[in-house]
Point group: C2
Chain length 242, copies 2
């Protein structure tokens, strides 16, 4: 049994992360997080939604609300997208955000902007160690083909579009994602590599909505590269809109 | 008079680069480059097409052909996009390319891939000094608004879509571009800045087509930040399909 070490009673039902290439089953995925506050962190009481292992979820969020994304088991990358509530052709853009905050990675206080240069999300709090990637594409079926997979493999691109569809929405493209908890180190001469997570169980990133928006997540099903840990175990994660 | 110092007789008609915010006029824009070979560089005889100052151009290219993009006056950033010939929803993707060659910037020999992970262009030759950006969004009207411009400002996003329209094509989004000759230095701790060009007049980058494709360029009209040089002078550039 995987013991969740962050003392979150709400997470007891999540002690059996889906491993390997198993599919995460749809379930009653909203619970109340009565104790989502490891020592030294800000307490919160809000409904928690499961992002099932290897699957996506989306939600509507109002301006001023915060979205806490919890790395429940500590090693799970969560691909994250945001779209303007009224127009899914306006989305959080990593290329516009880099031009806005002039960094290769965000830090607390940095705002992401849309492809129309409007602030959409601000990284308001972060207990994860701060490794979040804004350079790499979401994984997709063709990516797994290049990695030697034959047949279908769960992937973040499909998870995004399925999650939007559950809300009755569609997006005209797959924007470059904010890869929460994904550790992509760079060297001074510009080499990139697939790092292991630095986050810990129960750590989280909190994003403040700067406009009414739709947020979408995918618990990345990457089990070949070490981005979800060298054991290739993919797990669920959780989020709460506060 | 701006003297073009690379000894290209073909470029004599280009000795009056458009400056400031003037619009580049459409003209008879194809000439033959009989001497596009500064000392030590590979000679070429091929029709040259002008990318007018502050404007875009697109062209169809067959697999195996090369596209030489000439920084005619030495300081002009050229935003570059490529789309699969048969489907403009498949495009050259900077986020997928970074995952493919695992670098923050391309070098000779590196191939860019599409959002379906297929190689589309390879950087085959480069005499420009090698500063090409793959991190920053194309400029757009909203970007100039943030920079204090009131009213319309030429921009690369509009130039892309206008150039495609001239070929009877449309793209469903504005992909993150390959910004040829654009110098965006990074620091070891991930800070980015707007550098001045390191390229020289007549220097070029040569891209090999790995599939039948449509290539699109915009001579970037950025005259506020120093990416086209501190004087804010925007000029034409040229390309040839070899």
């Amino acid at each position: 049994m995987a013991v969740v070490s962050c003392g979150l009673s709400v997470l007891r039902s999540a002690e059996h992360p889906a491993g390997g290439r198993a599919h995460g089953a749809r379930q009653d995925d909203t619970r109340h997080g009565e104790a989502l506050a490891p020592e030294g962190e800000r307490p919160m009481t809000a409904p928690l939604t499961t992002i099932p292992a290897r699957r996506g979820r989306a939600a509507r969020v109002r301006r001023g609300q915060r979205i806490r994304v919890v790395n429940t088991h500590g090693t799970q990358v969560v691909d994250t997208w945001a779209f303007a509530a009224e127009d899914t052709a306006e989305w959080m853009s990593m290329e516009a955000s880099r031009a806005y905050f002039l960094k290769l990675a965000p830090a607390v206080g940095d705002s992401f902007v849309t492809n129309r240069r409007r602030p959409i999300l601000t990284l308001a709090e972060d207990t994860s160690g701060g490794a979040h990637d804004i350079l790499m594409a979401a994984c997709d079926a063709e990516r797994y083909g290049l990695l030697g997979v034959t047949g279908y493999h769960d992937n973040c691109r499909d998870n995004l579009h399925a999650a939007l569809k559950e809300l009755g929405l569609a997006a005209p493209a797959t924007p470059s994602p904010l890869n929460l908890f994904m550790n992509i180190p760079w060297t001074a001469d510009g080499r990139l590599s697939w790092g292991e997570p630095v986050s810990t169980p129960g750590s989280y990133a909190e994003l403040q909505a700067e406009m009414d928006l739709v947020i979408a997540f995918s618990a990345c099903p990457q089990d070949i590269l070490p981005i979800n840990g060298r054991r290739g175990i993919t797990t669920e994660a959780h989020f709460a809109v506060i």
